[in-house]
C-alpha cells in the first residue's frame, strides 16, 4: 500500500527546524503546478509545521507516513484546480453518487487525482487512474459502463470525462464538487 509515487523526493533527514520547511519551500519552486513532493524528515515537529505551512501557502498537504524514525510527508504543489467552469454536460453531485454507492449499484468510480492524493483518502472501490495516465489505460475500461470520474474539485475530472466521451464512452459523469467536499465513506493510509 505504501507505493506512493511522488514527482520529487526531498531528503530532510537529520535536519532540525526550520530547515525541513526551508528546503521544502525551495524544492516546491522546482515543481510544476499539481505535482507531488515527498519530504523525508526526522524532526517530529515537521508534521504539524508542514501541514500549517501548506495551508498558509496554498499547497495541498496530503498526509504523512511514519516509517520508524522517518516521517514521509506528501505535498502537492498548488494548481489552478478551483473555480474553473466544467465543460462536460453530465454532472453528478457528491451526495447522489454517495446514494448510488450505498445502494450497491454496480458502478465504476475512477479517481483521476495523483496516486499520492488517492493513497491518503479515496472512495472505497474507486480505481486510481491519474489524469496523465488516462489515455494509456483506456483499454482496461468498458465503454458501456456507467463511469463516475472524481478528482479533488471537479476540474481534472472534467478534463478526464471529456477525454472519455471523446473516445466513445457513452455513460460518463463528472462528480462535483469532488473529494475536497466528500463526506461519505473513504479509505486510505492512516485510516
Amino acid at each position: 500500500m505504501n507505493n506512493i509515487t511522488a514527482n520529487m523526493i526531498l531528503d530532510a533527514k537529520g535536519l532540525a527546524c526550520p530547515m525541513p520547511i526551508v528546503k521544502t519551500k525551495k524544492a516546491m519552486n522546482n515543481l510544476e503546478a499539481g505535482q507531488v513532493l515527498e519530504i523525508e524528515a526526522t524532526d517530529k515537529g515537521s508534521k504539524a509545521d508542514m501541514k500549517a505551512w501548506a495551508e498558509s501557502s496554498g499547497h495541498q498537504y496530503l498526509g504523512t507516513i511514519e516509517e520508524g524514525e522517518v516521517l514521509k510527508h506528501y505535498l502537492r504543489k498548488s494548481s489552478n484546480d478551483e473555480a474553473i467552469e466544467t465543460k462536460h454536460p453530465n454532472l453528478i453531485h457528491n451526495e447522489e453518487l454517495e446514494k448510488k454507492l450505498d445502494s450497491n449499484e454496480m458502478i465504476v468510480v475512477i479517481d483521476v487525482r495523483e496516486a499520492a492524493e488517492y493513497a491518503f483518502n479515496h472512495i472505497p472501490n474507486a480505481v486510481s487512474i491519474p489524469l496523465a495516465e488516462l489515455e494509456d489505460k483506456l483499454n482496461g475500461l468498458n465503454k458501456e459502463d456507467e463511469i463516475f470520474v472524481v478528482c479533488r474539485t471537479g476540474n481534472r475530472s472534467d478534463l478526464a470525462a471529456q477525454k472519455l466521451t471523446e473516445k466513445g464512452f457513452t455513460n460518463v459523469f463528472n462528480v462535483v464538487p469532488g473529494m475536497s467536499q466528500w463526506t461519505g465513506k473513504t479509505k486510505g493510509i492512516n485510516k
Binding site: 527546524c17 526550520p18 504539524a48 509545521d49
Partner: protein, 375 residues
C-alpha cells in the same frame, strides 16, 4: 544589531517580578494557542517562522522598539533564524535558549517557609508547565514530594544545601508529567512511597503510603503525616508537614480543584472528591498553608513566585469548595472538562513502569499545559 540569548531562568525572573516583555512566538498557531510562555505583563505576537522565510518586513511595524523583544520557537532553530533577520533589519532582540523544550523543563526553587524545629520547605516551580514539587529539609536530611523527571536539579540542590535525600513521595500516580521519584530514590537510596491504591499495576517495588503514616525527617521532629484524600485518583494522598503545611497534591489548587476523570473513572470518583474536599479537609486547621502540586494560571503566583494560600482563605474564595449542591458539584467536575493532558495514558503507563520511553519521547509526551484542574 546584536542577537542575545535569554535563558528560562531569566524569563522566570521576569515572570516573578511582573516585568514587561514582548514575545514573538514563531511556532505554528495551534501550538501557540495550546501553550505559551505566560507572564502578567507579557505581550504576544504569533507569526509562524515559515511565513517569515522571505523576510520580516511585514511584521516590523508590529514589533515595539521600546520593549525587550524575545523570539520563541519549539527548540531554538527557527527563533535564531528569525532573531537574526530582525537584527539585520535593525532591531535588538533575544531568542529563547533551547526554545519551549527548555521552558517546559525549567524548575525554579523558591523557599516557602521555615519549619518549627529548624529546617525549611522549598517549592520547585515548573513555571512552563505549572507543576509544583517540594523538598522538606531538616538537619541534613531531605524529603521530596512529587518530583519531576528533571532529577539532577533536586540532587544538585540537595547537595548545595548539604542535605541527604532519605524519603521520596508521590501524592498520586501522575497523568500529566513523568515522575522522577523512582529515579531519585534509586540514585540516593531513599525510600520511595506511593499510595497502594494507585499502584496496583506498577512494575517496581515501593513503600505503600497509607492513611496516618508518619515519617520523620532529620533529628528534629518534622512530621510528614499522610492523609488519604481520594478524588483525583483513587489513591490520592495529601500530606500535613510539621502541622503547618498541607501538601494537597492534585486534589485542591489555589483557584481550582482536581479533576476526577484522568483514569477514566470520573463518575465513580466524584463522590470521593467531594468527601475529601467538603469533609476531610474541613476537619483540618484553617491555618494550614496549602501547597498544591499544580497551578493553572500565572496569577496564582504570589509575589515571590511561590504558589500557596491558607486553607481558610481557599474555603472562602475557591469556587470548587463552595458548591453547596451535590448535583451541581457533580456536574462541574464531570461535564465541560478541559481537554485531557497530552499523552496522559502513556504518561500514566510510564509512571507505572510499564513502558520506558527515552528522553526525547518523554519530552514529546509532556508537551503542553498540565490541565489537571477544573474551575
Amino acid at each position: 544589531m546584536t542577537v542575545n540569548v535569554m535563558t528560562p531562568k531569566e524569563i522566570t525572573k521576569k515572570v516573578f517580578n511582573k516585568e514587561e516583555l514582548f514575545i514573538l512566538d514563531v511556532r505554528n498557531e495551534s501550538d501557540f494557542n495550546d501553550w505559551k510562555i505566560e507572564g502578567e505583563n507579557f505581550e504576544y505576537l504569533n507569526v509562524p517562522y515559515f511565513e517569515l522565510l522571505d523576510g520580516v518586513e511585514e511584521i516590523m511595524e508590529k514589533i515595539p522598539t521600546d520593549k525587550e523583544v524575545l523570539v520563541v520557537c519549539a527548540k531554538e532553530g527557527s527563533s535564531v533564524m528569525v532573531a537574526e533577520m530582525l537584527s539585520e533589519a535593525g532591531l535588538s532582540v533575544s531568542y529563547l535558549q533551547t526554545g519551549m523544550k527548555a521552558w517546559s523543563e525549567h524548575l525554579e526553587p523558591v523557599k516557602v517557609g521555615d519549619l518549627n524545629n529548624g529546617g525549611e520547605i522549598y517549592q520547585f516551580v515548573r513555571i512552563g508547565k505549572g507543576c509544583l514539587s517540594y523538598m522538606v529539609v531538616s538537619n541534613g536530611e531531605a524529603a521530596l514530594i512529587d518530583a519531576t523527571r528533571m532529577t539532577d536539579i533536586y540532587l544538585d540542590f540537595a547537595e548545595s544545601i548539604s542535605a541527604k535525600i532519605t524519603h521520596v513521595f508521590d501524592t498520586h500516580l501522575h497523568a500529566d508529567h513523568i515522575s522522577g521519584g523512582r529515579t531519585i530514590a534509586s540514585k540516593t537510596g531513599a525510600t520511595y512511597w506511593l499510595p497502594p491504591k494507585d499502584a496496583t499495576e506498577v512494575t517496581f517495588d515501593y513503600q505503600p503510603l497509607e492513611d496516618s503514616n508518619e515519617v520523620t525527617i532529620g533529628n528534629s521532629i518534622i512530621n510528614i503525616y499522610a492523609l488519604y484524600s481520594p478524588g483525583h485518583t483513587i489513591g490520592s494522598t495529601s500530606f500535613v508537614v510539621d502541622e503547618k503545611f498541607l501538601l494537597s497534591g492534585d486534589i485542591l489548587f489555589i483557584d481550582s480543584i482536581g479533576r476526577p476523570d484522568l483514569a477514566g473513572m470520573a463518575e465513580d470518583w466524584v463522590g470521593d472528591l467531594r468527601e475529601t474536599l467538603y469533609k476531610r479537609y474541613r476537619k483540618l486547621s484553617e491555618e494550614l498553608i496549602v501547597l498544591p502540586a499544580h497551578f493553572m494560571m500565572i496569577d496564582e503566583l504570589n509575589d515571590d513566585g511561590s504558589v500557596s494560600e491558607k486553607l481558610g482563605t481557599l474555603f472562602a474564595k475557591n469556587h470548587g469548595l463552595n458548591i453547596d449542591d451535590e448535583n451541581e458539584f457533580r456536574k462541574v467536575v464531570t461535564e465541560n472538562l478541559p481537554p485531557q493532558p497530552n499523552a496522559y495514558q502513556e504518561i500514566r503507563e510510564t509512571n507505572m513502569g510499564k513502558i520506558n520511553p527515552d528522553m526525547e519521547q518523554q519530552r514529546e509526551m509532556e508537551i503542553g499545559p498540565n490541565r489537571c484542574a477544573v474551575r
